[in-house]
């Protein structure tokens, strides 16, 4: 039974961290059968500045009272600043997923670190740096198993304008594939 599963998405404003949080919460609670609460923290700027979104997931019927992270199961960091500022809440044996080009000073702790050049892959393999958050969602789904591939895919596709469906599908698929490889080394 899942009483409380915490995910934090962190990066800088404009990288789609809040959208990633919304999609994860929808995958769990609308396309899946769980309960979820998504919250965010951001500065007055619309771009730049630290940005983070948090999703708390629990089994259906379990209330999520405190909506912010307390002890994180999985955290994504797309910038060094976000990583340094926010990693300390990761729980023992939790997962820290980092963009390995951006985060070079990797924090040490009782958690597992998964490294992948997420933003570079978005640019070079998919052709749009903007899908970094979708690759990340694919990776987190594969690494944690908290939602199924089908649930996250339905949630992503319902949020994306039609001309970009295939682009996002490929980004998600790339995330699943890379995380499946990296998971073996954990």
């Amino acid at each position: 039974m899942i009483e409380r599963y915490e995910i934090r998405f962190s990066g800088s404003g404009g990288q789609g961290m809040i959208l990633a949080g919304i999609i994860m919460a929808e995958a769990a609670s609308i396309y899946g059968t769980k309960n979820a609460a998504q919250s965010q923290s951001y500065g007055p700027e619309s771009r730049g500045g630290a940005s983070r979104a948090e999703v708390i997931i629990a089994d259906a019927g379990i209330d999520i009272d405190y909506p912010k992270a307390t002890s994180i199961d999985c955290m994504l960091a797309l910038t060094q600043t976000a990583c340094t500022s926010y990693y300390s809440d990761i729980k023992k044996d939790g997962i820290l997923l980092i963009d390995e080009d951006e985060v070079t000073d990797i924090p040490e702790g009782d958690f597992k670190v998964v490294k992948y050049p997420i933003l570079r892959a978005a640019r070079e393999e998919i052709g749009k740096s903007i899908v970094g958050n979708i690759i990340s969602l694919g990776m987190i789904t594969e690494l944690t198993g908290i939602v199924t591939r089908e649930e996250i895919e339905q949630a992503v596709l319902s949020r994306v304008p039609k001309p970009f469906l295939e682009l996002n599908k490929s980004a998600l698929a790339l995330g699943f594939e890379k995380a499946a490889e990296l998971k073996k080394a954990l």
Binding site: I22, A25, E26, S29, I30, N35, A36, A37, Q38, S39, Q40, S41, Y42, G43, P44, D63, I64, D65, Y66, P67, K68, T70
Partner: protein
């Protein structure tokens, strides 16, 4: 039939609640963290024959909201701290002219422009005393996304029923967070419409003092009457008659005082045998509930009183809490507002301790748990 479940943001749920209640007019000036309410109303109102207007500032927005309601439409405005300050004068005008309307205040850090994207609960006292003069106040404090929808509907109902403005106070955290909620079908929730006069326009008295709440005629239906912020007589025209002034000033307060049980609403958890009481609203009450559950797991008898109506103040429920508990802990995102009301009601019967935070961060469960454990 399967209920329609949707992941919704608090502010979205607020707009959905207003539309469900039959709101047909919105006048506002956008301000973080309440802007989504205006955005959604601007898209949805024209689709149902309603009107949305962005005014030049918050003062004009409040005035237009009152005007919309006098024309017979359920009216809404939404704002945050700095805008709420500007709306105060017209809010008092709505109180004395007895115009139903709903004001949403998604609280952010203050004073002044403060911290737009950070949560706060520092307008609790302003909701009560922001406008001058003795005046009736109803203020609701939802804490969950579903509750924001439901309580926005209740705000319209109370406003229509008691012919008075109703304030809905929530904070940036619940305004911006998303949770799966069930959208009610028509008929699932009660919707109250104001009483209209059944007399002829010639016989109509907008402030008929033989009634606690006089029916309100919409402008445009042939009922012509005077509306003024000055103390007025039954026909709405200004008066110097001290007997009439006294009667009217007492009556507008009595509307609320005589109906406390209908207006007050609380959510209680684990209070039956509680020795340590918690009193909290909005996002802070969610931290408090988390801490109460954690305390119960350790065998500590903690319980939570969570008012959904903060004004009028839940004296009766707090008094019962003070009788049974050795301490009442009041976490709030300000430097001490509700805590003094709790102390007033507890009147020395138990200890009352506040937890206060004004750095733009929520009060974390750990902070509350620490104090609960100290008193256990």
């Amino acid at each position: 039939m399967a209920a329609k479940k949707k992941l919704m943001q608090g502010n979205e749920a607020c707009a959905a609640g207003a539309l469900y209640a039959g709101c047909k007019f919105y006048a506002g000036y956008p301000i973080t963290p309440s802007t989504e309410v205006a955005e959604i109303m601007s898209v949805e109102l024209p689709k149902i024959g309603g009107k949305f207007i962005q005014m030049e500032d918050e003062i004009a927005s409040m005035a237009a909201t009152i005007g919309g309601s006098l024309a017979g439409l359920k009216s809404l405005t939404a704002t945050s701290g700095p805008g709420f300050s500007l709306k105060q004068e017209a809010l008092g005008y709505a109180c004395i002219t007895e115009v139903p309307c709903v004001i949403i205040n998604v609280m952010r850090g203050g004073p002044s422009t403060g911290y737009p994207t950070g949560p706060s609960q520092s307008d609790i006292m302003q909701a009560k005393w922001g406008t001058h003069g003795d005046h009736p106040v109803i203020a609701l404090t939802p804490a969950y996304v579903q509750e924001i929808l439901d309580e926005t509907v209740r705000a319209f109902n109370l406003s229509e029923k008691y012919r008075t403005p109703v304030i809905v106070l929530f904070d940036e955290i619940v305004g911006h967070m998303r949770e799966p909620i069930t959208i009610p079908e028509p008929g699932d929730l009660e919707v109250v419409d104001r009483e209209k006069p059944d007399c002829t326009p010639e016989e109509y008295k907008p402030y008929d003092d033989t009634k606690l709440i006089a029916p309100l005629a919409p402008f445009g239906d042939g009922y012509r009457f005077h509306v003024t912020g000055l103390n007025h007589s039954e026909d709405g025209f200004p008066t110097n008659n001290s007997e009439m002034i006294d009667k009217n000033n007492r009556r507008i307060m009595q509307k609320i005082d005589d109906n406390i049980d209908d207006i007050c609403k609380n959510d209680e958890s684990n209070l039956e045998d509680a020795e340590i009481g918690l009193f909290a609203v909005g996002s802070t009450s969610r931290s408090a509930k988390f801490s109460v559950n954690a305390a119960r797991e350790k065998g500590i008898k903690a319980g939570l009183l969570r008012p959904l109506t903060i004004w009028p103040f839940p004296d009766k429920a707090v008094s019962e809490l003070a009788e049974k508990c050795k301490v009442i802990i009041v976490p709030e995102l300000n430097l001490g507002q509700m805590v003094n009301e709790v102390k007033r009601v507890a009147a020395g019967r138990c200890e009352v301790i506040g937890i206060h935070r004004v750095d733009g961060e929520p009060i974390k469960p750990a902070q509350i748990t620490e104090l609960i454990e100290k008193y256990s």
